[in-house]
């Protein structure tokens, strides 16, 4: 703490937010740690449970089969995470409003089918085919949001109907052949299976977040002091920045022992970062949380609630469509199986496991990243142990159940601590 609590000529110059002497303010690092523990106790969990869970899962799998933490296996894990992760990121947006989209799996399947048919069968260029798939996703999102806001149809039902309809459309598009193979030599397949960042690129990208956080932190610090608000001081900021940078550099170094950081994962993380910025730093993001917390209050504050619903559903369907294209490039095919099976529930589970509440108003874009790494770790670890998908489904189901139980218990605890 800087010396900004002193009295000059008897007039208090305490910062605006610490001026009220009736209120206890936590100042020292110890106070802040205690405050953090209190928050956890009262049910304001954030990403805390998922990080504990991830450490446990990785510990168990490494113990059972040390190959799990080998750099090569982790690179594979990241390749596999990107597609479902991108779909899960879309789910975060609808979950923040307390809504759901059950058709994301089918949406990704249809999108890969449109992409395959247009590019391979009809001979359109790759960008045009991708644009068409994404545009289709956008239209589906518009339909869902209109059903929700104009007709009051619960998204649970409209997207369940969408799940079937889209699956039917996917089968129709692919016709009797059932699957379309994407040409192996193509850039898009190379992107999904091989493209790895050069070490210099990955190291640079690992340093950037720390630099950005430091720069922003410094700016905020100066501005807060200039506007007579207290600031946590630069010490904490430096500790945070160093910790993040060291952690990221260590991860990148470890992955570079094998092939390196997949571009596809990099793209996914870029989307997560952009989504996080939009949710936490823009007016639109604030409105998303407001509508998710209390739609009526948001409406009275002049927020266009219908537009917010529209943006969430459109983003969700569009990201699902994009995820479908990434899946097609990863598998080098657009097939009838694309987007079916566990894709749907894995994506929703990832968002919830990552800490986005099913009840709306709480969550973050990072939960898609954390959640999908948990899901893929389970699936990858069980495959390494030669377990069938039967076991995988059961264990993933159990983890999802635990995540939802934690969410519900945290909600109860917040209520009993007067923080509901």
């Amino acid at each position: 703490m800087k010396e900004n609590n002193m009295n000059v000529g008897g007039v208090s110059t305490a910062p605006l937010d610490k001026a009220d002497s009736r209120v206890k303010h936590s100042v020292s690092l110890r106070d802040q740690v205690l405050e953090f523990l209190n928050r956890i106790k009262s049910g304001d969990l954030g990403s805390f449970p998922v990080i504990v869970g991830l450490v446990l899962i990785w510990g168990v799998f490494t113990f059972l089969n040390p190959v799990f933490v080998s750099p090569n296996n982790l690179v594979n894990l990241l390749f596999d995470s990107a597609t479902v992760g991108l779909i899960a990121l879309g789910v975060v947006f609808v979950l923040l409003l307390g809504e759901i989209d059950l058709s994301i799996g089918s949406m990704s399947g249809v999108s890969s089918a449109i992409f395959g048919v247009m590019w391979v069968k009809s001979g359109f260029s790759v960008p045009v085919s991708i644009a068409a798939s994404i545009f289709f996703g956008l239209c589906i999102g518009l339909i869902y949001s209109n059903l929700r806001t104009r007709l009051g149809m619960p998204s649970f039902v409209s997207t369940l109907a969408g799940l079937l309809a889209l699956l039917g459309f996917q089968l129709f598009l692919l016709g009797s052949t059932g699957s379309i193979n994407l040409p192996y030599g193509s850039e898009i397949v190379a992107f999904g299976q091989l493209a790895i960042m050069a070490p210099e690129v990955s190291y640079t990208l690992a340093v950037l977040p720390g630099a950005y956080i430091f720069w922003m932190g410094l700016r905020t610090h100066r501005k807060r002091l200039a506007t007579n608000l207290s600031s946590n001081g630069l010490g904490n900021l430096v500790i945070k920045v160093v910790a993040i940078t060291v952690l990221l550099l260590a991860c990148v170094y470890y992955l570079n022992l094998s092939r390196g950081v997949p571009w596809m994962f990099g793209v996914f993380v870029a989307f997560v970062v952009a989504a996080d910025y939009a949710l936490t730093k823009t007016k639109w993001g604030r409105a998303m949380f407001a509508v998710g917390g209390n739609a009526e209050a948001a409406r009275r504050a002049g927020i266009n609630v219908k537009q917010i619903y529209m943006s969430a559903f459109v983003l969700c369907s569009t990201l699902a469509a994009l995820g479908g294209i990434l899946a097609a490039s990863r598998l080098a095919s657009a097939s009838q199986q694309a987007g079916t099976g566990d894709v749907n529930l894995n994506a929703i589970a990832a968002a919830v496991i990552g800490g986005t509440s099913l009840f709306g108003g709480r969550g973050s874009a990072w939960s898609a990243l954390l959640g999908v790494i948990v899901i893929q770790s389970i699936s990858n670890g069980l495959t390494l142990l030669n377990m069938s998908s039967a076991h995988r489904y059961m264990i993933t189901g159990a983890v999802l159940a635990i995540a939802v139980i934690i969410d519900s218990l945290a909600r109860k605890s917040r209520a009993s601590h007067g923080k509901a």
Partner: protein, 266 residues
Amino acid sequence: MTEVNQMTARTALPLLELRKVSKHFGAVSALTDIDLEVNAGEVVALVGDNGAGKSTLIKILAGAHAPSSGEIFFNGESVSIDNPSDAISLGIATVFQDLALCENLDVVANIFMGHELNKWHLDETAMEARSWVLLNELAARIPSVREPVASLSGGQRQTVAIARSLLTEPKIIMLDEPTAALGVAQTAEVLNLVDRVKQKGLGVIIISHNMEDVRAIADRIVVLRLGKNNGVFAPSASNEELVGAITGATDNSVSRRAQRIAEQIG
């Protein structure tokens, strides 16, 4: 000074004028042919029994409900308030009885809800500083503006809601039972604030069940009964007159007891 202000206010057009405003919910008439006038620099108290239509009237002016019929004039011009943002852009701010706060958001986010500074990169520092200024004006006892509103007490939430209504620098502020959940000191502070708002030349519409509060700050007391106008009183009006107008009976146990007491004293 105040007299001069009131004189000029009276000669000018009323800031807000309602003519024959009605509102039906299906077969139920919540409001019938309501007339209301609010001048700049004037505190108008709306009083009435439960179900008299006070909250409905406030909701119409806030754009939460559309009136079924009637006309609303703002600054002499006929306006329609179809949604909350219309009301806000006209300069009508509202503190609802249910406060309309988002419990998952912190105090700053609630105060600036819908009016965030710097759309594409929220200016948290400036918003926090402004929030503290607004809250300090209300002598608010709020530990941190970065706590979710869910962790605040009822009185603190009321303060946040009032601070929020002041943010947009409105021309008229409507307060629906603003002091119902507040302690003695905070009630006095809110009443002080209402006075300060009035001095600034804003119109204030206040709903309250507390006749002492009403008499302390109101310039005119408008009584509603069963969705209709039932008289306009000066703050010097007796309790008997007011209660009579509110309940619709000049002969009831309250007035009889008041009469007995008056006779005993006399």
